[in-house]
């Protein structure tokens, strides 16, 4: 896709989300993150547990107020939206949550869950119209009329995730943050949900930010991929390019850590491994966050933070190795 002449639907500029732990300690969950997302594309967001993926996603849908930085949706800063504009934003931008077991209200029927948003945005809607709309949405996600009056706890994980997707679609969104929509599901069910998300995107021209820690899944669904490490973006590139030609030392390790479901490949591949574990995001040092574990680290890496730079063809990387 050629993004040169288009304006992004969403721009994130130097976004920070810090949590104060106590007087001396600040947890920098997201620390200076910038990226663009264009209309109709899927951007994958990957990284290990605690690197700030969900926090980033929540800042985009205004579930979290950023500590600093801007989130610009269709040219406007979302924190400054008022009245009709704010309402439109709340309709346009939706989120599907990580855990299908806790994100649905167990005391509501499927009809109430999916219908809630429709009512908010169409206050005068008749009961018959509401029911018709809910049914249409349920059928879109592979559920049916019989499911309408049941409670969410009566459903399997895969079905619950479908209900969550129907709820997000109910208000005709443009942009959906999918936060690990399939990681709580069994592999045989994951494919059902993934295929469905792809089809819905085609049908409605949706834009996705797809958060996951499974890099194979992200490759399958994304046009471009962002790799995060400890609150920062280390690499952002076209999906094919990133997987074929990872450049950041952390991305290289991450990609080669995945056991491929093919014994010949998995048993014979020469893996890059990395020592130690992800350090704490509390009071991180103002240098490359990967420096302690990086096999290529030099003195400079422990002194200054590398900036995210475009190496040409839209491949962006934050590492002192690339000048």
């Amino acid at each position: 896709m050629d993004n040169q002449n288009r304006t992004p639907i969403l721009q994130v500029k130097d976004l920070c989300k810090h949590f104060r732990i106590n007087k001396k300690a600040t947890l920098k969950a997201v620390d200076g993150v910038s990226f663009d997302i264009y209309e109709g594309e899927t951007v994958g967001l990957v990284g290990e547990s605690g690197c700030g993926k969900s926090t980033t996603g929540k800042c985009l849908v205004r579930l979290y107020e950023p500590t600093s930085g801007e989130v610009i949706y269709k040219g406007k800063d979302i924190t400054k939206l008022k009245g009709a504009e704010k309402k439109e934003f709340c309709k346009d931008v939706q989120m599907i949550f990580q855990n299908p077991y806790s994100s649905l209200n167990p005391r509501m029927t499927v009809k109430e869950i999916v219908g809630e948003g429709i009512k908010v945005h169409n206050p005068g809607i008749s009961d018959a119209d509401l029911e018709a709309k809910v049914l249409e949405l349920l059928e879109k996600v592979g559920l049916n009329k019989d499911h309408m009056s049941r409670f969410s706890h009566e459903f399997s994980g895969g079905q619950r995730q479908r209900i969550g997707i129907a709820r997000a679609l109910a208000v005709d969104p443009k942009f959906i943050v999918c936060d690990e929509p399939i990681s709580a599901l069994d592999v045989s069910i994951q494919a059902q949900v993934l295929n469905m998300l792809k089809e819905l995107q085609k049908e409605y021209g949706l834009t996705y930010l797809f958060v996951a820690h499974d890099l194979s899944v992200v490759k399958f669904i994304s046009d471009r991929v962002i790799v995060m490490y400890l609150g920062t973006i280390v690499e952002y590139a076209d999906a094919e390019e990133l997987y074929a030609n990872p450049m950041h030392p952390y991305t290289k390790v991450l990609l080669s850590s995945i056991p491929e479901a093919d014994p010949d490949i998995a048993k014979n591949s020469q893996r890059l491994t990395v020592k130690g574990e992800i350090p704490s995001p509390i009071n991180p040092k103002p240098c490359c966050r990967f420096a302690e574990r990086c096999p290529n680290a030099t003195e400079e890496c422990f002194k200054t933070m590398p900036e995210l730079k475009d190496l040409g063809n839209g491949h962006m990387i934050a590492c002192h190795l690339y000048k």
Partner: protein, 349 residues
């Protein structure tokens, strides 16, 4: 002849059935499962949530309280020729941890938060007067070093909350190994870990097999982990083993529609973006009233009349590869079950 075969197998499960009595009825978690474990091999058990992987492995050490759990009448589990099913608690204590070790699914909940790491490792020696206190400590430190924990002496005196997730998992492995067992059962040892840490732990398990010659029973739902580590694979579905064989036979010469379904439903690094994943429609059977025929029948695209009526028998593909599917019957229609996306890539060339 029979003797020789017995020597070859450290562990033999025959027709193991294990159920639980609950308020809702009887859950038949494990149904007529048979397999062997040979010295030094890594055997994977794969299948989706609730198919009976954990209960199967827990049966081997009788970790499930009876009642409400109970074995079926013909169940037999023999370790080095000795029957486990009828063994007393006292005898079981000589097996648990000393002959067969167990690594639990979740290190966060299975370590005791109130006890120091060292003490938890030494728990296996409690009441054993043949080993001195100093010797216990020496063995605990030695095992911590073996599982790759640096500053073992200091860690010995720490509490679990002072350790990272990856380190806790290493401690779990140390606990399973300190009694020098010949088999270790690892139930989803890496599921709660990040991929870079998972890679470290998988490498460690492999290295331990090489160094100590132990057998490992590895339970996972991740086919990548199976491909990376295992020599043999048991595929479970609805409480039963539906196919088993050498890892290459299972991945490249699948003879069961469920295994094939699993292989086709996962996204892979090598698959392209335009490819569509092939999901398995439907959901697994209810183990309160499992189907009388093939457990996969309700979701199988090749299901025939017989499949719903009668459990498929064991069919031998090779001496090491068995499938329980009516398609293997000589008169059944011929169906190609090889992983399809591989073929597409080849033809697109």
């Amino acid at each position: 002849m029979e003797n020789m075969e017995k020597m070859e197998n450290l562990l033999e499960l025959r027709n193991v059935t294990f159920s639980f009595r609950t308020y809702g009825g009887v859950v038949q978690s494990v149904r007529d499962v048979s397999f062997n474990i040979k010295p030094g091999e890594i055997v994977g058990i794969v299948g989706e949530s609730g198919c009976g992987k954990s209960v199967t492995s827990q049966c081997i050490l009788k970790l499930n309280p009876q009642p409400p759990g109970f074995f079926g009448p013909d169940s037999s589990i023999k370790y080095k020729g000795e029957e486990i099913v009828t063994m007393s608690d006292k005898e079981m204590r000589k097996i648990r941890g000393k002959e067969i070790g167990f690594i639990f699914q979740d290190p966060m909940t299975s370590l005791n938060p109130t006890m120091k790491v060292g003490a938890q490792i030494e728990e296996i020696f409690v009441g054993d007067k043949s080993i001195s206190k100093a010797e216990k400590k020496r063995r605990a430190i030695e095992i911590l070093e073996l599982v790759g924990i640096n500053e073992a002496e200091r860690r010995y005196n720490q509490y679990p909350h002072e350790l990272s997730g990856g380190m806790k998992q290493r401690v779990m492995i140390a606990i399973a190994l300190v009694g020098r067992p010949s088999i270790v059962i690892a139930d989803e040892p890496t599921t709660s870990l990040d991929v870079t840490i998972e890679a470290q732990i998988l490498d460690l398990l492999k290295e331990l097999r090489e160094k100590l010659g132990i057998s490992i029973i590895l339970i996972t739902h991740d086919l990548g982990v199976i491909a990376k580590l295992c020599d043999r694979v048991l595929v479970m579905y609805g409480g039963k083993i539906i196919e088993h064989g050498d890892v290459g036979e299972i991945f490249y010469d699948t003879k069961h529609p469920y295994t094939n379904g699993l292989l086709n439903s996962i996204a892979r690094l090598s698959s392209s973006k335009d490819q569509k994943l092939t999901p398995i429609e439907g959901t697994p059977p209810d183990l309160f009233s499992p189907p009388k025929g093939c457990p996969f029948a309700a979701r199988c695209e090749h299901c025939m009349v017989i499949c719903k009526e009668q459990m498929p028998p064991e069919y031998e593909v090779t001496p090491t590869h068995k499938s329980y599917c009516w398609l293997m019957h000589p008169d059944a229609p011929k169906v190609d079950l090889t992983y399809k996306a591989v073929k597409e890539e080849v033809t697109n060339g």
